[in-house]
Symmetry: C2
DNA sequence: GTCTCACTATACAGGTCTGTCTAGTACGAT
DNA sequence: ATCGTACTAGACAGACCTGTATAGTGAGAC
């Protein structure tokens, strides 16, 4: 519900009705809605990290990125697609909320994955470019309701990778 | 306030207190909060379109994109920066709201600007890639609180432009 | 002067929100 | 059998939300 309808639009009463539990039970397991949001994001993060680990077993960086964006494109084509849960949540939660720390961890994992694929440091501009690709792909695909945004971003990501391999030193920000 | 704190987090009472007007006055000028949100986005859209028109007077597409992203980078460096107001709003308003139509108009204008710069059709994959750059740049810059995301996106945008000029036919989605 | 119009301030209705509390129930361990 | 634990249903508090209604004020048109 948090993902589909948004966090603020989803009240606790609807959550417990959907889960089929009593309100006291929910508050026995989560101290507050903020904690529940953080747990919701953490569940997403766990699945995401597991998928990244699978992709890390591939030896070819081109295929890693290709499969990564292919997975995104598949998600973007589904009826339940509603963008990146972390980017969406970042708009709705406050920066000092526990959920925001999960969001930051997500972006750390994402940058780490891209850095490994590129053989670069996490703060390399090319890594940032790939993060921009990811974020823009899902945001645009959501708002425009057009999964082809993800395909366009995938092609862009591959061009970043090939540019990086052609001249692996400082390929970036001041061109 | 809608921009800084988010739309759902900003109640009508705070709006009228900040504007120094009575509630009845606000509701004389705007039928509902939804209409107020749409007007808020429309004001942003007007300024944005005006800036795009200025940029369209430049003959060199490279400079158009460079100045466009330089403006974004300037915004991203300001303390009040909070991402793209349209992308943020898209997370908080419902798809059938009047605000959402303004958001769609914004993306139409954005794609039009990129299409003119590239000399391409608005549905060209390269145009979509530039939209992805824009969206990703502002989203990542906001969440990571790092304006360098915009600089990375700017470099990426220029590479899309040069790739397009090197081989102007079908540069995109299936690479 | 008088009418009109837009404003101000404020109370209020009706709803939703989060979070707490009470009261009762099922179940396993000892 | 009794205790502890976790659950259920649901009332409730207190705050906030949007939107409306009431009552009064000031300025310009004629």
């Amino acid at each position: 519900m948090f993902y589909r309808d948004g966090i603020n639009a989803t009240g606790i009463d609807r959550v417990i009705a959907g889960a089929g539990v009593a309100k006291a039970s929910l508050y026995n397991n989560f101290a507050s809605k903020d904690e529940l949001i953080a747990a919701y994001l953490e569940a997403h993060l766990d699945r995401f990290v597991a998928r990244l680990c699978e992709l890390d077993t591939l030896t070819d960086p081109v295929e890693r990125l290709a499969r990564f964006f292919a997975g995104l494109a598949r998600s973007a084509g589904e009826a339940t697609f509603s963008g990146c849960p972390f980017a969406n949540a970042a708009v709705e939660v406050r920066p000092d909320s526990p959920a925001h720390r999960v969001i930051e961890r997500f972006y750390g994992e994402l940058a780490g994955f891209f850095a490994r694929a590129l053989g670069a440091a996490p703060d390399d501009p090319a890594v940032t470019q790939l993060v921009v690709c990811y974020d823009g792909a899902l945001s645009a695909a959501r708002i425009l309701r057009d999964p082809s945004c993800v395909a366009a971003a995938a092609a862009l990501a591959q061009s970043i990778l090939t540019a990086r391999r052609a001249r692996p030193v400082a390929p970036g920000a001041t061109n």
